[in-house]
């Protein structure tokens, strides 16, 4: 069971400003029935003063979605459009005494509906989402939205992004993409590889070479019905024998070069690999 605050429960049970405004000056619609929540916001705006004189909503969704919508309408009433745009999703959550982490996306939906309504009033056309920019296909979340919500709420982890936007909460396929966006956004450094030990003893070196050949090189070759056998290690010279389909393969030089590159990266820069004749 979700731990809703009393204010969320109260607002959900008796939401304010429910319904439509038939002659609304601005309408903002976000979400969809497929995604599990949707909000349609109606605003009546005084042309002279630019103030929001009335706000109503229709919402399909859970208790916190309904409560967030009601909170939004209460917050915007009486404000000018610019003042209203100053309301963040956090303000909506705060108005309700907070929302469970996993439900923060409901407050984000409120903020988005407000933006959509103001854009509608000002005659701005919200650009169609470009196909390539769509990150989460399950919940239809664009890269732009992830970046925006992450910036506004100082989100640094994928879990937080999921709580606030739902992105990554479906099939999970886009989780690596969200990680990349977050790294880029906050210029997070990739975890550094452990530094190579300065000086390997011969014993360590032999063990390391054996381990890499066993775990990283042989499975790849075996997948193509080939194989490799370690014959000898003398100083930095590694002698290998190609087996199976690799024997007499036209690409065997390239295979040997590939293994050399791998060992140079993982063990030591001066490794020379040669094929056993």
């Amino acid at each position: 069971m979700w731990e809703y605050t009393d204010k969320v429960k109260e607002t959900f049970l008796k939401p304010k400003n429910v319904g439509e405004i038939p002659d609304a000056d601005a309408v903002g619609e976000v979400g969809s029935i497929i995604c599990g929540d949707a909000l349609k916001l109606f605003l009546k705006i005084d042309k002279q003063t630019g103030r929001i004189v009335d706000a109503k909503f229709q919402t399909f969704g859970c208790a916190s979605a309904i409560a967030s919508s009601s909170a939004l309408t209460e917050l915007v009433k009486g404000k000018t459009l610019d003042e209203a745009l100053g309301i963040s999703n956090q303000d909506i959550a705060d108005f309700l005494g907070g929302l469970p982490d996993q439900k923060m996306h409901c407050s984000v939906m409120g903020r988005e509906a407000l933006e959509a309504a103001v854009a509608n009033y000002r005659g701005e056309i919200i650009p169609e989402k470009e196909e390539g920019k769509l990150v989460c296909k399950c919940f239809d979340v664009s890269e732009e939205k992830i970046r925006k919500v992450a910036m506004e709420n100082h989100l640094t982890t994928v879990d937080e992004i999921t709580n606030f936007t739902k992105a990554g909460g479906g099939c999970g396929e886009c989780v690596p993409q969200i990680e990349l966006i977050l790294r880029d956004l906050w210029s997070l450094k990739l975890p550094e590889k452990p530094p190579k030990p300065k000086k390997l003893t011969n014993l360590h070196k032999i063990a390391l070479i054996q381990e890499i050949i066993e775990n990283e090189i042989r499975p790849g070759l075996q997948a193509d019905n080939g194989d490799v056998e370690l014959i000898d290690i003398e100083g930095s010279k590694v002698t290998l024998a190609l087996r199976g389909m690799c024997t007499g393969c036209m690409m065997s030089d390239i295979t040997i070069k590939g293994i050399q590159a791998k060992l140079r990266e993982m063990v030591s820069e001066d490794i020379e690999v040669e094929a056993y004749q």
Binding site: L13, G61, F139
Partner: protein
């Protein structure tokens, strides 16, 4: 105020007779059944009596009953035992609508080098048995298929499947956690090799389960330690709960036919009334092959969590397949496997009754539900042209 508890597929109330039977073993008779002294050792006899009562509900032999800690332990033990006893076989088969206890265990071993096949269902939740039989090969170690679905109550044709699998010599486990105590199970007639039960689904307490293992089935224990349960499940016995489960099974066996008929009548009345008074409402699952106590209904254009919290205000307990109630953002895997449209999955509500459900309680649900649906539909931007619920 006592709740109107219609969430009995989640858990049930402990029957008063069961609690009475258990109390002495929690209060005074706290001995260990493995002890040499009478104070502890006498409890061994009580455990065997309970085992006989459980066996009697299933028409099984007492020696075929192993007490475990819960339904999940029984399920995991059954699958693990099968793959451990057949080390060369690397394939397991289950269904897409299985309880997480089996589903996630199969996914778990699939990450450890096993192959797992998940058999689909049709839009009524009926199992694609052709797909099942075609999936079996020489590598198949075990097939695990639930007897009845916890979300929709749909009952699978386990007897027919078991016959076929027996002919083909494949081990068969069924998770009968939702069926046990609600519909008769006769293991003399039903050739399954293993079957799971859970105490708290049939008016015994939580923390006690049963794994039935047919005599002659190769078995490999999952929990290793002492000699309890003849070496098949180590760990000091949960004495009071075992005795409670014995009593619960005794009561269930005595009244099962009458109770099933009563439950079906109440449940059908609830379902028919709700369908009549709320338009754009549908039943999920095969109503012809269904547990007598379960109905899963989708109310279009509204969201399940919102319905549950409004019902909660009236003290009515139910559950939903909606994403918002699952803890994740994904709605019910069962309803999605059935191809139920998302719009209907989000508004799905499961009512599950028990022997303690009264006529008056059902009346109360029928009385308040249309108002809740109407109010939430009035809030919703969808299906507005279709709101024709009669006003109160």
């Amino acid at each position: 105020m006592n709740p109107i508890y219609l969430d009995n597929n989640a858990t049930t109330r402990v029957a008063p007779e069961v609690l009475e039977e258990m109390l002495p073993y929690l209060r005074d008779l706290y001995g260990n059944p493995s002890s040499m002294h009478t104070f502890g050792g006498q409890l061994h006899r009580k455990i065997e009596e309970a085992r006989e009562k459980v066996a009697s509900l299933l028409n099984a032999l007492p020696e075929e009953i192993i007490f475990t800690s819960c339904g999940t332990e029984s399920d995991d033990t059954a699958i693990m035992s099968a793959v451990e006893s057949l080390p060369r076989k690397k394939h397991v088969i289950t269904t897409r609508v299985e309880h997480p206890a089996v589903l996630n265990f199969c996914r778990h071993i699939a990450r450890k080098g096993y192959r797992a096949t998940f058999v689909p269902v049709n839009n009524l939740g009926r199992l694609d048995t052709d797909f099942l039989f075609k999936s079996i090969d020489d590598d198949t170690a075990v097939v695990s298929i639930m007897y009845a679905n916890n979300e929709t109550g749909v009952v699978f044709p386990i007897a027919g499947i078991a016959e076929k699998l027996k002919e083909r010599g494949v081990l068969f486990h069924t998770d009968a956690v939702q069926a046990g105590g609600k519909i008769p199970l006769d293991l003399k007639e039903l050739p399954v090799d293993m079957l799971s039960l859970s105490g708290h689904k049939l008016h015994a307490p939580k923390g006690i389960g049963v794994l039935y293992v047919r005599r002659g089935t190769r078995f490999s224990p999952y929990i290793i330690g002492g000699h309890q349960e003849r070496g098949r499940r180590a760990g000091t016995e949960n004495v009071a709960s075992i005795i409670g489960l014995g009593k619960a099974c005794e009561i269930a066996a005595k009244h099962i036919h009458k109770e099933a008929a009563d439950l079906k009548r109440l449940c059908d009345r609830l379902e028919t009334s709700l369908l009549n008074c709320c338009p754009d409402t549908r039943v999920n699952g095969d109503t012809e092959n269904r547990l007598p106590n379960t109905t899963n209904i989708s109310f279009e254009y509204v969201e399940g969590e919102a319905i549950l919290l409004r019902l909660n205000e009236f003290g009515i307990c139910a559950s939903s397949g909606s994403a918002c109630t699952s803890g994740s953002l994904e709605p019910s895997h069962v309803l999605r496997a059935m191809g139920i449209p998302y719009t209907a999955v989000h508004g799905s509500i499961r009512f599950s009754l028990s022997r303690y459900t009264t006529e008056k309680e059902i009346d109360r649900v029928i009385e308040v539900m249309p108002g809740i649906i109407r109010e939430l539909r009035e809030l919703s931007p969808f299906g507005r042209e279709k709101i024709v619920c009669p006003p109160e």
